[in-house]
């Protein structure tokens, strides 16, 4: 690289523009290229619920933040070093995210009179021209004009030319960070394979953006961020939803079962349905049901028939499935219920992230209806958590809640993927023959895990009936006997508690085994807590971090960990849910720390809070 290149350890870029500007695609491309280059990274796509929100307005702004570095990266960054804005609304909505003295790259055409009005700037005010941005490094580029100049004579219409302008910006950013265009060129060739003229136009614009950096001298300083020193191995880039889908496929394969997904489209879970639909050659069947209830009921039917059955949804859909989850608990059949949480209640914030369905998962059913609940902590971890949810469901014959959220679903990170040989076998033990002569088949008999047999239709001599009415112990016959009901309620609770015998102990993520403060997290807050606790430890504070995957039942040693610190802080993207369970279960004065804004915690927010307690 040239002499004027700055060597940095990390950078955070926020791409922002109209939801029709191709911002998510630009972000994804930059992410893939950066991952392949070898940086560690974390991303945060943030977009409106409307497919095409009113153009140019603040409501229509779509953003994609990526933090990447030569050091380990656990969050998409609190504030960004560079803000790339395609229009005035994108600047207005995101300027507060930019670090003091940060870089703004602005598409000047997005700051014409109309765009300024739509972004609600005062009449006659243009932030690019009035000096209000002088504390930042502002680079104005007329992307639209340059794109038009690039594709003049290409024969494409104005609209089609305009659609390639995100490639110009991407090319320019690639130039700044000295990145190869190859990944994106391959992507363009595949995506538009049927339209060679569009392939050519996009590649031409991408290269024009790159060359603009070289020739224009608008940007004096390029930045070099070397590959990260992370654990050796083979990596890929991964988002949470595809990771979840792969975890389900892997579990089915390891169990020797067919995978069945019953699902109904809902944001932000639909991508799991899309992904699984592509993998029919793995024996994966997907059923897009008429509604959320049918989706889970079809899964229950498939489970009764001996498939690994899964239903995927988000909060409002889960609410609809509630009665059927209760049925699955009574039937004691394997079932995985995936909730990719979003902001609630009701329709809430469909495209924003939240962790507010934890109590729904743990308690939200009629009657005493316990089931295991496990949560993923990062996009790559969705794979392992989904796999583990399947293992527990199959081996313990129970519905299991797997909690992900919008941030994990759409966020990306480099992932050192496992080899299939490293994954544990799952033992379904489906009964394939009738009991010996003279012995009666007991549909609700119990094994050492207190699980009942999985007897699927087709096996002679195992004909039996199951249902939602209370069961007599062992025979499974309908029973209204008072003693039996209490016994069965306790048995159903005990067998879920027993799952704790078959999971690993809770571990500390970092920090001392005893001290002033334990930060106890769950789910997608992992990266932010890890970053904050690391900073606090570096500054000499007495703080540790534990992140729970198994929320019901808890690992058996969790209590002793909690009691090893003066204070326990539970940060959550809700109004305090895990903290209630912790207090209830262990009678300790755990303190909650809430953020309920539809966006993840920043490490800085957490660090400030940690310092008040550690």
């Amino acid at each position: 690289m040239e002499n004027n290149t700055l060597l940095a350890t990390e950078a955070t870029i926020l791409f922002a523009g109209d939801s029709g500007d191709g911002i998510q695609l630009t972000g994804d491309q930059f992410t893939n290229t950066t991952a392949l280059y070898g940086n560690d990274l974390s991303t945060f796509p943030n977009f409106p619920a409307e497919i095409r929100a009113p153009q140019g307005t603040l409501a229509g702004v779509s953003g994609f933040q990526i933090k990447f570095g030569s050091t380990q990266v656990f969050t998409p960054g609190d504030r960004c070093d560079m803000l790339v804005v395609m229009n005035a609304a994108a600047l207005k909505a995101n300027l507060k995210q930019l670090k003091p003295g940060g870089i703004i790259i602005a598409n000047t055409e997005g700051f014409d009179g109309k765009n300024l009005r739509l972004a609600r700037y005062a009449e006659g005010v243009n932030p690019l021209e009035d000096g209000s941005l002088e504390t930042y490094k502002l680079f104005k580029i007329d992307v639209t004009r340059l794109t038009k100049a690039t594709l003049g004579g290409s024969g494409l219409g104005t609209k089609e030319i305009d659609r390639t302008k995100n490639m110009f910006v991407l090319g320019f950013i690639y130039w700044i960070y000295n990145r190869s265009l190859d990944t994106t060129i391959r992507f363009i060739e595949q995506k538009f394979a049927k339209r060679p003229e569009i392939v050519e136009a996009n590649i031409k614009t991408l290269k024009a953006g790159y060359n603009f950096g070289d020739t224009s001298e608008t940007f004096m300083q390029r930045v070099e961020i070397r590959p990260a020193q992370i654990a050796p191995g083979r990596y890929r880039n991964i988002n949470g939803n595809p990771a979840t889908a792969m975890g389900l496929i892997a579990a089915a394969k390891k169990a020797g079962l067919k995978l069945f997904l019953g699902s109904y489209p809902i944001t932000p879970a639909s991508d799991i349905l899309h992904e699984l639909s592509k993998h029919k050659h793995f024996g994966v069947g997907t059923f897009q049901a008429e509604d959320e209830i049918a989706a889970i009921c079809a899964a229950i039917g498939a489970s009764f028939g001996g498939s690994l059955a899964v239903t995927t949804s988000s909060g409002p859909g889960i609410a609809l499935k509630t009665e059927a989850i209760g049925l699955a608990i009574m039937l004691e059949l394997p079932l995985v219920i995936v909730n990719v949480q979003r902001g609630g209640p009701s329709t809430g914030l469909p495209t924003k992230t939240e962790q507010a369905d934890l109590l729904q998962a743990v308690y939200g059913r009629n009657g005493e209806a316990p089931l295991p609940v496990i949560a993923a902590k990062s996009p790559g971890d969705c794979f392992y958590a989904a796999f583990e949810a399947c293992r527990i469901a199959i081996e313990h014959r129970t519905p299991v809640f797997f909690l992900s959220d919008g941030y994990l679903a759409n966020g990306a990170e480099p992932w050192r993927f496992p080899s299939s040989a490293d994954l544990p076998e799952i033992k379904p033990n489906i009964l394939n023959s009738a009991p010996a002569e003279g012995e009666k088949f007991l549909p609700y008999g119990r094994d050492e895990k207190l699980a009942r047999p999985w007897a699927v239709p087709g096996v002679k001599g195992l004909e039996h009936r199951i249902g939602g009415l209370e069961k007599e112990h062992e025979t499974g016959n309908i029973s209204y006997d008072p003693e039996n009901h209490e016994f069965m309620v306790k048995l159903r609770a005990e067998r879920i508690e027993k799952v704790a015998d078959y999971i690993g102990p809770q571990t500390l993520d970092q920090g001392p085994e005893k001290g002033k403060l334990l930060v106890l997290g769950w789910g997608s807050t992992y990266g932010a807590i890890k970053t904050a606790v690391k900073s606090a430890l570096d500054e000499g504070y007495s703080v540790a971090h534990a992140h729970v995957r198994y929320i019901h039942p808890f690992p058996k040693n969790l209590e002793s960990i909690l009691r090893s610190y003066d204070h326990v802080l539970v940060p959550e993207m809700n109004n305090g849910q895990l903290v209630r369970i912790i207090r209830d279960r262990f009678l300790i004065p755990a303190e909650g720390f809430s953020k309920i804004k539809g966006i993840p915690f920043t490490a800085e927010e957490l660090l400030t809070k940690i310092k008040t307690l550690a």
Partner: protein, 343 residues
């Protein structure tokens, strides 16, 4: 489980009886239906272990507990959805859904229509008693307007469903009506339902002698049955009446009751269960029997259509994907197309 060549172990009706005490009210029409099903099922060439009865909630939904086959008594309205998942993944099973007018047409209405349009190869026995029995006597979606029940002391203001018109509207491929009090006819229809490849829907008029006694009396009692009902048989003229002296003709697009003393039997409407237009007319003969000039209520198989089943298409895609791409390689899936190595 699927085997190359199926061997069938015959079983008797008695072997279909479970050790559970049947708990319907004495005199309930459900007893007769259970008896007919237990009589017909052993004659279908099936193994007992490949039969599954799935129900929702309601009096009729206790049915699976009384059948010594595989069975599931599920939740209200969802038997159809549960059966869909089972049949999609285990197409070789013989799946029977037992449901009622409340279960299938009220709380489970959505799954009911989608089951029909997808045309899973299952048999649906819709016990219609025009009342909520298990919850002790509220009006149902098939109760007539003005019905006085516990929840409608001044009479129901709901216009009722014509169940078979709903079935035709949802593109059902086997549309039939039977009654609890005509066991021979019911058994014939049950057999045909099993033979049909696709969703076989039988609406069975079933008397609830506790909360809605006599709802179908006019169709079932000897004194009125012959004049008030019309038993349609494929290829036969539509004739009814105690003396078989009345028939139906089509006057343009209008069905008309005629006396056989005036019209020759050769000119009558010949029932063709493959004729969708005529089937639509038959299921629309849904008059209140007290109305002057009403049509008789038709029974029988009104419509049969051969259409691909959901599970065939679903399984075909799985086979096709396997043939095209080979068995999925988990390691290739995990690594994806873009990887890099950190030393």
């Amino acid at each position: 489980m699927e085997t190359a060549e199926k061997t069938v172990t015959p079983f008797t009706s008695k072997e279909l009886v479970t050790d559970q005490e049947v708990r319907w009210c004495p005199g309930c029409g459900d007893y007769s239906i259970l008896k007919q099903v237990q009589t017909v099922v052993p004659e279908l060439g099936l193994n007992r272990e490949e039969i599954v009865f799935i129900s929702g909630i309601g009096c009729s939904s206790r049915f699976p507990y009384y059948m010594e086959t595989y069975g599931m008594h599920s939740i209200h309205g969802r038997a159809t959805a549960i059966a869909s998942g089972l049949k999609a993944t285990r197409p070789e099973l013989s799946v029977w859904i037992v449901t009622g007018d409340g279960d299938s047409l009220s709380i489970g209405g959505n799954h009911f229509i989608h089951l029909l349009r997808r045309n899973f190869d299952v048999n649906v026995l819709l016990f219609n008693n025009e009342i909520y029995g298990l919850t002790k006597g509220q009006y149902s979606p098939t109760s007539e307007k003005g019905k006085i029940t516990k929840s409608t002391p001044m009479g129901s203001v709901d216009h009722p469903f014509n169940p078979l018109a709903v079935v035709m509207g949802a593109d059902g491929t086997f549309v039939a009506r039977a009654m609890d009090r005509d066991p021979i006819h019911l058994r014939t229809i049950l057999k045909r339902a099993h033979q049909h490849k696709g969703t076989s829907l039988i609406e069975i008029y079933q008397n609830c002698n506790v909360f809605n006694d006599g709802a179908f009396e006019v169709f079932t009692e000897k004194s009125s049955k012959a004049d008030e009902t019309l038993f349609a048989e494929h290829g036969q003229p539509l004739v009814f009446g105690a003396a078989k002296d009345k028939g139906l003709i089509l006057d343009g697009f209008q069905p008309k009751v005629v006396s056989l003393s005036e019209v020759s039997a050769n000119d009558l409407w010949i029932h063709d269960e493959r004729d969708r237009t005529k089937a639509d007319m038959l299921v629309r003969m849904f008059d209140d029997p007290s109305r002057e000039g009403h049509f008789p209520r038709p029974f029988g198989i009104f419509y049969v259509e051969d259409r691909f089943t959901y599970e065939e298409a679903y399984q075909h895609q799985l086979t096709e994907a396997l043939a095209r791409k080979g068995e999925g390689d988990l390691d290739a899936l995990l690594s994806g197309n873009n990887t890099w190595v950190v030393e």
